[in-house]
């Protein structure tokens, strides 16, 4: 029942959401979760003309849980190479135990 898996987390500019989802789905992931985020890093580009003075969340935080470790690496590499030269973002991963999932 309990299954070891990798949770890959990508924090990047909201502008890229659609394209990143395309990468994730193309990699064959069984799903993903998106949460609104904001933040600061070392590149820190403003992605849009959206007002800064309102409470906008200009980043997204995308999590992909996968039981295949190399899939997480593949997704990270593709996103990193395709977008991170010009866009803000960070990618990290850790180990989780999946207790319930419809794809198990």
């Amino acid at each position: 029942m309990i299954r070891q898996a990798i949770k890959l987390t990508i924090v990047t500019e909201r502008l890229l959401l659609k394209e990143i989802i395309r990468v994730i789905e193309a990699a064959g992931a069984s799903g993903y979760t998106v949460t609104p985020a904001s933040g600061k890093g070392s590149k820190n580009l403003r992605s849009s003309g959206d007002p800064m003075v309102s409470d906008t969340y200009a980043n997204v935080r995308i999590e992909v849980i996968t039981t295949e470790p190399e899939m997480s690496e593949r997704i990270a590499n593709e996103i990193g190479e395709k977008f991170f030269e010009n866009f803000s973002g960070i990618i990290y991963r850790d180990q989780v135990e999946v207790l319930r999932a419809h794809w198990l």
Binding site: L45, R46, S47, S48, S54, D55
Partner: protein, 336 residues
Amino acid sequence: MEFILDFLTRFATQLQSPTLGFLIGGAVLAALGSRLEVPDAIYKFIVFMLLMKIGLKGGMKIREADLGDMLLPALFAVLIGVIIVLLGRYTLAILPKIRTEEGIATAGLFGAVSGSTLAAAMAVMDAEGLTYEAWAPALYPFMDIPALVLAIVMANVYLTKRKGDAGTRVKIWPIVTDSLRGSALSALLLGIALGLLTRPDFVYDSFYEPLFRGLLSVLMLVMGMEAYARVNELRKVAHWYAVYGAVAPLVHGLIAFGLGYIAHVTTGFSPGGVVLLSVLAASSSDISGPPTLRAGIPSANPSAYIGASTALGTPVAIAIGIPLFIGLAQVVFASA
């Protein structure tokens, strides 16, 4: 001399217009660290309402208009969009410390059009009784899209050449559709279509029209706060962006005024239409432009172009440009 006095009086009056007042008020609040906030949902909805209003009105009036008259001004609008980008390409973008592609992106943003500046101009002109052709606001996309497309194409040609590979050609059509899909142009064009094809008079008169000025005042407040917030971004980039942001709107507006004058003489384009064309030229895109440019010229730092536009370009276009072009029109066309 008299003109300058006249302009100064007009400018002083303009300072009392609530449009400008809210803009300045927003900047002052932001500078004082106020926690006042206009929620994002409200901001987005206001932009929708203003462009829908402008579109509906245009659409309703276009029905009666002779669209042949629109030909020359539309052509000029395209031309102005192109001129602005070329001008920026061969002035701003070649300056030292300016990365060429960022200079081009900035010129593209200033060639594109701001719905809120347009709305502000229409409010002032309505208050002054200065009329224009019904289809004049519909010149928006004719200037906006060519400017963005040209900027993106030129920047990519430049970048490709620099890299030395003559491989990837830039596709134009996706940039055009991306522009058209932006929320501002979508709302404007939908409004025009609905004004043209349906009978929205009642809903226009009972809703979009009466709320226009008030919603605009709130939007000006946001833009004022925004302008102040972006000053910091502007500080981080080369000083030339600040110079460009302050000067370009007026230069662009005057070029458009000249072309508009030609249209006036040759095809009877109205004085109000000339002013509106100048404002379209002077304005720089604040809503749809930035994401389109970001996607099209990803290596250009958006702080450069957004900073120049939001912190300086838009306030200058609204505070100085609008009264200047109106004053000019009154001087130039009074004698005509």
